[in-house]
Point group: C2
Chain length 195, copies 2
């Protein structure tokens, strides 16, 4: 194959998470045959995002400014800080409409098997952030997976001496689900955390 | 959300086939947090491919030249022409190592439900191509789906008056499969085409 440009495109597409050889081929075919405009827009969006998107100096989420709009919002309760793994998790909490505090986005979670240790996620900046004298409660909203639980555990220990209250999202039966189909460990937690 | 650059990136990623809101978010997070170099390479590969990749004047496949390397290869048998739907199908035939003729790539197949009619795939250029006086046999290697069969049917009719032999890939039991798990229509074809 002497078609260097096409090969380079296929290889670049395959670096995306969840994209294998077949998907890359399908994407390249679609862009070149049916949506060249979409390809140009993607190229430009990638470049603009690479130049402009950085981390908020206070909460570490993606932003184009020094400090993100959420951190600057005077209507939010600065005494509550929710710790989440990713901007997507932050967006999920926001959509629930039931949290009006501030956030800290770790941009990852502990995952020793993938080589992600305590220094690779934002725990040191989190400790700095919590020491602002305003925060009274840190709500750990990391995932309820082994890795998310380990992350929550490490943060709890690191914050133990800081004199702030540390809480964790409640585990329990998801709204709208039938008990019959809920896994046993979730039912056990829902029972022990009953109110 | 005031993060325009991030929103634009998410929307551009969602235009890719098979990418929904969640995958786009995962890709954007991965590129911005873990692989900015990959994002820049993808942007540049998209632009280079858009500028350089066009259709081969003889077989219609993607190429950076006027005529692709396969069509120019003097060792190939110019009397045989395999008609395929996409460059990926062409690559699959090549990998089989059992075809040494030339190709014609339709760059699509008939699909009335999606608004793809006879004029949207390369049937007219195929008729021109077949009239070169050298081609003796056209092998229809379109998919064995309703759409691929319809495409093969239309091409067979269009070539009927051209005095070239028109053949179709054999249908039958895939190599390595157990009869028990092969669908009935395939078994029926394998029986009627037995040799």
């Amino acid at each position: 194959m002497t078609e260097r440009a096409l090969q380079d495109l296929l290889e670049a597409l395959r670096r995306l998470p969840g994209v294998g050889a077949k998907s890359a081929q399908r994407m390249a075919f679609h862009l070149l045959q049916h949506d060249r405009e979409g390809g140009r827009r993607l190229a430009s969006a990638l470049q603009v995002a690479d130049q402009r998107v950085r981390h908020c100096a206070r909460c570490h989420t993606f932003t184009e400014d020094e400090v993100c709009a959420t951190c600057l919002d005077p209507h939010r309760d600065a005494r509550l800080l929710a710790v989440v793994e990713t901007p997507a998790d932050q967006a999920a909490l926001e959509r629930s409409g039931s949290f009006r505090g501030l956030y800290f986005v770790l941009m990852g979670r502990l995952s020793p098997l993938d080589g992600v240790g305590v220094r690779d996620i934002g725990i040191a900046p989190l400790l700095d952030r919590v020491g602002d004298g305003v925060i009274e409660e840190v709500i750990l909203a990391t995932s309820f997976t082994a890795e998310g639980e380990a992350t929550a555990h490490v943060i709890t220990q690191a914050l133990a001496a800081r004199g702030v209250k540390v809480t964790r999202l409640a585990r329990g039966v998801p709204v709208g689900s039938e008990l019959e189909y809920v896994d046993l460990s979730t039912i056990a937690h829902a029972l022990s955390d009953r109110r």
